[in-house]
């Protein structure tokens, strides 16, 4: 379950894991995040999985080589390395070689807007109460829509309708991602 403060807590947790050198745990946490982005942008599961594999390898190499990107949350580093690797993929360059040492990550990079600026719990908090309750149960607490309907004393169809605006905001978010 995700709590409203979990985003900040998570950045601190990532930093702690990194400081302890527990890179395998960090990679395990972000594997699906990386895979989803690669598959979406490659528009092909096979290519997306291959590129995601290379992103993981690059992240592993970056941190074992001692790079820490001080002050930049790990999730931003993940997305930036993913972005660079996808750029190499689309340019026909090799994606399984180490990144150049002079690459820098900036948290205010416009390309990372969707990583830094919006959290789902904030989006959900902006919704009308009935929608907020349904979205909280399904998207933040992990109940199925049927379970959420039972908890809210309403129908499954009504829950589906209440989730509509949250999904629309997510779609709008990706439309703005270029």
């Amino acid at each position: 379950m995700l709590s409203p403060s979990s985003s900040h807590h998570d950045d601190a947790r990532d930093a702690e894991l990194l400081a302890e050198g527990r890179i395998e745990r960090l990679l395990a946490r972000y594997e699906l995040v990386i895979q989803a982005r690669c598959i979406r942008e490659a528009r092909n599961v096979h290519d997306g999985q291959d590129v995601a594999q290379d992103v993981m390898f690059r992240l592993f190499r970056e941190f074992h080589a001692g790079k820490r990107y001080e002050g930049i949350p790990y999730r931003v580093v993940v997305h930036q390395v993913t972005k660079w690797t996808l750029a190499d993929f689309f340019a026909g360059r090799r994606t399984d070689v180490p990144l150049p040492d002079d690459l820098e990550i900036r948290e205010d990079d416009p390309g990372d807007r969707v990583v830094s600026d919006l959290w789902l719990h904030e989006l959900v908090a902006q919704l009308p109460e009935a929608e907020r309750a349904a979205c909280t149960l399904v998207y933040l607490e992990g109940l199925s829509p049927d379970q959420a309907a039972g908890r809210l004393g309403t129908t499954r169809n009504n829950v589906d309708q209440r989730l509509f605006h949250a999904r629309k905001r997510l779609r709008d978010l990706m439309d703005g991602d270029g």
Partner: protein, 199 residues
């Protein structure tokens, strides 16, 4: 309500519960709406903190970094024998030729079978057997030359000390775990197609 929305809600809730949803399987289910589902999932995963991985997830990732196929590591961690898994596959997929099924499973587990060609029904049985998606665990975390990430790191440190990138030629010369050749039966039967696909 659109099918893609139903699939998204199912995947999102599973992810938040700390499960490991099989994204490629969801995309297959989405059919011609796969791109739309991929967009929604990508947006969702960018806006929620990732759940803490299980100890199994971490152990399997460590094994993959060492160059070991993840499914092999997971099976050993769960204390399951190859025959236990083969029994599940044979029963649920209604396969009579158990010795050949066993060989296919061992090749899949060992990372010498192209996972992209494996039938969705096989993944579904394995997911039920291991109670987690295993599709993404098949391949160890290796370079395209087949060297494990850990071996690469050790090699890098020993060569350069400062972690500078070694040349491609300096990558460790390990046997490739993913590039094994598939047998090419003259005519594929139903069992062949489960693991090798149709072409």
């Amino acid at each position: 309500m659109a099918e893609v929305d139903l699939l998204f809600d199912e995947l999102a809730a599973a992810y938040v519960r700390g499960e490991r949803p099989d994204l490629p399987a969801y995309l297959v289910r989405a059919g011609d709406q796969a791109d739309e589902l991929a967009r929604l999932v990508d947006a969702f995963l960018r806006t929620v903190p990732p759940p803490e991985p299980s100890e199994d997830d971490v152990a399997v990732m460590r094994a993959r970094l060492e160059g070991e196929p993840g499914l092999l590591a997971l099976r050993k961690r769960r204390g399951r024998r190859v025959d236990d898994v083969v029994d599940e596959l044979a029963s649920r997929l209604d396969v009579a030729d158990r010795p050949r099924l066993r060989r296919y499973y061992q090749r899949l587990e060992g990372g010498v079978l192209d996972p992209h060609k494996v039938d969705e029904r096989v993944w579904a049985v394995l997911q039920a057997t291991f109670e987690t998606s295993v599709r993404n665990l098949i391949r160890p975390l290796v370079t395209r030359q087949g060297g494990s990430a850990m071996a690469y790191y050790r090699r890098t440190v020993s060569l350069d000390g400062d972690g500078a990138a070694p040349s491609i030629a300096a990558a460790p010369a390990e046997p490739s775990l993913v590039a094994g050749s598939d047998p090419a039966p003259a005519e594929r039967d139903a069992l062949d197609r489960l693991f090798l696909g149709d072409d």
